[in-house]
Symmetry: D2
Subunit: 294 residues, 4 copies
Amino acid sequence: MTPEIHGIIGYTITPFSPDGEGLDLPALGQSIDRLIDSGVHAIAPLGSTGEGAYLSDSEWQQVAQYSLAQIDRRVPSIVSVSDLTTAGAIRRARFAQAHGADALMVLPSAYWKLSPAEIRQHYRAIGAAVDLPIMLYNNPATSGTDLPVELILQIVREVDNVTMVKESTGDIQRMHQLQVLGEGQVPFYNGCNPLALEAFVAGAKGWCTAAPNLIAELNLGLYQAVRDGELEQARALFYRQLPLLDFILKGGLPATIKAGLGLTGLPVGEPRRPVFGLDEAGTERLRGLLEQLR
Amino acid sequence: MTPEIHGIIGYTITPFSPDGEGLDLPALGQSIDRLIDSGVHAIAPLGSTGEGAYLSDSEWQQVAQYSLAQIDRRVPSIVSVSDLTTAGAIRRARFAQAHGADALMVLPSAYWKLSPAEIRQHYRAIGAAVDLPIMLYNNPATSGTDLPVELILQIVREVDNVTMVKESTGDIQRMHQLQVLGEGQVPFYNGCNPLALEAFVAGAKGWCTAAPNLIAELNLGLYQAVRDGELEQARALFYRQLPLLDFILKGGLPATIKAGLGLTGLPVGEPRRPVFGLDEAGTERLRGLLEQLR
Amino acid sequence: MTPEIHGIIGYTITPFSPDGEGLDLPALGQSIDRLIDSGVHAIAPLGSTGEGAYLSDSEWQQVAQYSLAQIDRRVPSIVSVSDLTTAGAIRRARFAQAHGADALMVLPSAYWKLSPAEIRQHYRAIGAAVDLPIMLYNNPATSGTDLPVELILQIVREVDNVTMVKESTGDIQRMHQLQVLGEGQVPFYNGCNPLALEAFVAGAKGWCTAAPNLIAELNLGLYQAVRDGELEQARALFYRQLPLLDFILKGGLPATIKAGLGLTGLPVGEPRRPVFGLDEAGTERLRGLLEQLR
Amino acid sequence: MTPEIHGIIGYTITPFSPDGEGLDLPALGQSIDRLIDSGVHAIAPLGSTGEGAYLSDSEWQQVAQYSLAQIDRRVPSIVSVSDLTTAGAIRRARFAQAHGADALMVLPSAYWKLSPAEIRQHYRAIGAAVDLPIMLYNNPATSGTDLPVELILQIVREVDNVTMVKESTGDIQRMHQLQVLGEGQVPFYNGCNPLALEAFVAGAKGWCTAAPNLIAELNLGLYQAVRDGELEQARALFYRQLPLLDFILKGGLPATIKAGLGLTGLPVGEPRRPVFGLDEAGTERLRGLLEQLR
């Protein structure tokens, strides 16, 4: 049976060797342990933050397999298996299932804009290829395709194992629509860091975020405060962490999270080119932000 | 001394005679009494809902004078004095002040897009012409000009009596910026109905809305629940009224609010052409929504 | 019978007294004479460049009456009669007709976004109120409403005297659609200065522009070169005047054209506040651009 | 020495076996021969139309090698070598050079939005890795990144072998800027089919298009008419082919071009999933459009 996914769902980064070419799996293992030790409720490997799109197929498999082994079911795992082709996404989905993933995350990656019918078929095909629950992920900023809530719910209704929705448009009204049109029955998750407070208030069941790599305690505290109905405290905790959330979003998650891990004693390399690592000024700014949150 | 503006700030509509030509001031008076009796914390005449932009100068003055006399300081009043020309806005501002307004609301109306320097000068000139506190109103959907938070705060700093900000972009992150960059010192108000819950949670001091013409109790209940830190109740109240909030926003505030008042026994005519009144199907839908909320 | 509108259609500015308050009708007369003497094929008073939206009703009537008397049918006149209310637009349309306008230009001005049905009714009502031909004007940047080509052609079909279309979105593909969907039977005019070459090449019958106040010879030359099928010359003439066309568009037409008229010996004041006149640096840049084109 | 690239530059499709899995290289060869026989001035393999983004590395290499061998320098070849990673793009660039490409096309593909500095570094690295001339390709609709003209020209100046620019935003004013800011020295190419007439008129040196797979004669005729200064004829030819150009753009280039090749006796399979082939109704519409152009 699938564990229920809720709360703080931490993205992993993918550490590279200093020259950016090879994978650094031991560092990946350490970063996963850190996340679990910090108390996150679930872990999502190979997402946007994990630079999944920049890996070769072979690297992707190594990272998936290693991550799942390291997580070792201590918390639920949700592996992002997105690929430009349906066949590729299915291959990854099956690989993740074979290696013990608890759930899958699927973004409708696109070069050519996809029609609603094409998107539905994509999810149907992936859903039919595996038994795992799937989190449909909408993020037009990276995928280039914006799924209206009506389309999302249509897919949820017609593909049995698409059971969760992750919304990253940054528009809180999408969550209202998910809540209202889904009649409160479709669990949705927030993927937009600066919307963390409002998403929980609006009913999001979880927050998928790379921030716990750096400030897990604050992320978890916000979630708990909302659950406890402690609105004043939730607001205070939110505004306390907001500058950091804004910073990692604007600076690019792989660059800023990797720099932040380096600052806290876990060197994980830089993002793969053409994406740059955080420059010196940015790193100093990040150091300052982190110190204020200690 | 200026009364503090907070809570539910109700917009008035401007009733017209059945042929759409003349003003129906007695109906205006009744609608104002209803709002006050329902418990709103303040009243905002001649806003977008009040079709201020569609009135002749003479009509505008009649409505302003009549509204202020009818409110009679039972609650604070905030009169929208926006005009395409600075001279026109100043004339209206002075008129409103002379007739007892407690505060003014100013949208930077524009035909030609305004530069930041032009917008600043506009507010400086209006601010210098009156003694009343001014609420700066940002609503690119109707004004065609989007004021970044930095520009808004620059105006707040340099014009003494611009002391409040109303945000209607629908992007909750603007309120985060107002809170953070304004260091919690600049009171901001929400002007986007479907954002009511999140805006209060993010720290908005008030909600400027036409909804209290129809469902004041629910609007007030939401505000009170957030103030009391009753998050569950606030969320429930919000989702309960959201279908109506969405409906009046999408259907056009003058058309839907006027139809709703008619349904509740106060005929106020239709919006002025080219804006249509709510059609029959829409009116039936509205009747259904209102009945569900009784 | 209506004269055929084609070629270079020059907008007039509206001169104000130095303090920006009063109208300077003699200067208006001189600017009109200049345009006609320079050879423009038609004149369009009270458009965007003419700050029609910033005039009181009484001023608008003075400018309309004076302009028509001064043009005195030496060339066809197209008076912009746009107003936020349908009743106001009809009043202006009738006034323009009564004072000898040859045609009317109507932009669907909007505060509240208009539905297609509302826009159609607006044009039907104005069309029914006058006998003059009407040029439907689409310019979302100033009107806030973008009319799809299908809607435009629907209005052309259902309102007998809407016989011309002016397109100012800046997207040449709209003109392709007008040509193809209008089956070559609906004359369209370009209102986007930097698109002048391509619009003529795509089949536009005229170019509505404020530029002839400053560089009529170049505007007329471009039109003539395209008519003569002299593509090389048309391209050369276009790129020659493009820097000025870009400058007046980006700097704001009232501000730049007024400054340019001042530089050429005809002081016409500044735009009405909150719009600024061209600053010193801009004026120097404009002087340089004009000198290069002598 | 590099052959000059100009005129009609035809994209190839990538034929798949009926099940969508394997490559059909003989069909690719036939389609290339057709293009060359029809008179195109150059051929561009593995572009957007060629589904380059949907191929595995091994497939990409097979298609590149086979295409270059088949073209066999009968006309110049421009191979698209875009990849999400800089390392991957360099690998492809070197492969294409080793197998005889005349020029390369590089789109700044992105998952994470790239900064100007990252984009510049990407082009510098690729430029340094090969000796071939590079055509910088701007197409935000597929790449997610819009390169302003200033950035494009900065790259042209700082990377010796970036010598050509392909513009596909669909905004003709970008070409004006390339012409003016590039001082007429930077050859630019049009990648937006429905802009073909205006782009040539504005000075584009070539038109990169998949249309010659179906209507090469009309494409070539338009180019020739503009070169000959035959404006009337160019306009007539353009409007004649425009419905087809619009159709293939809106229907998706791989789907429509593949369907069109099938209709003309060369079966090349369907696009790779999740992209759909053209449905029956679309195919009938395409058949009709093609028949009208015979």
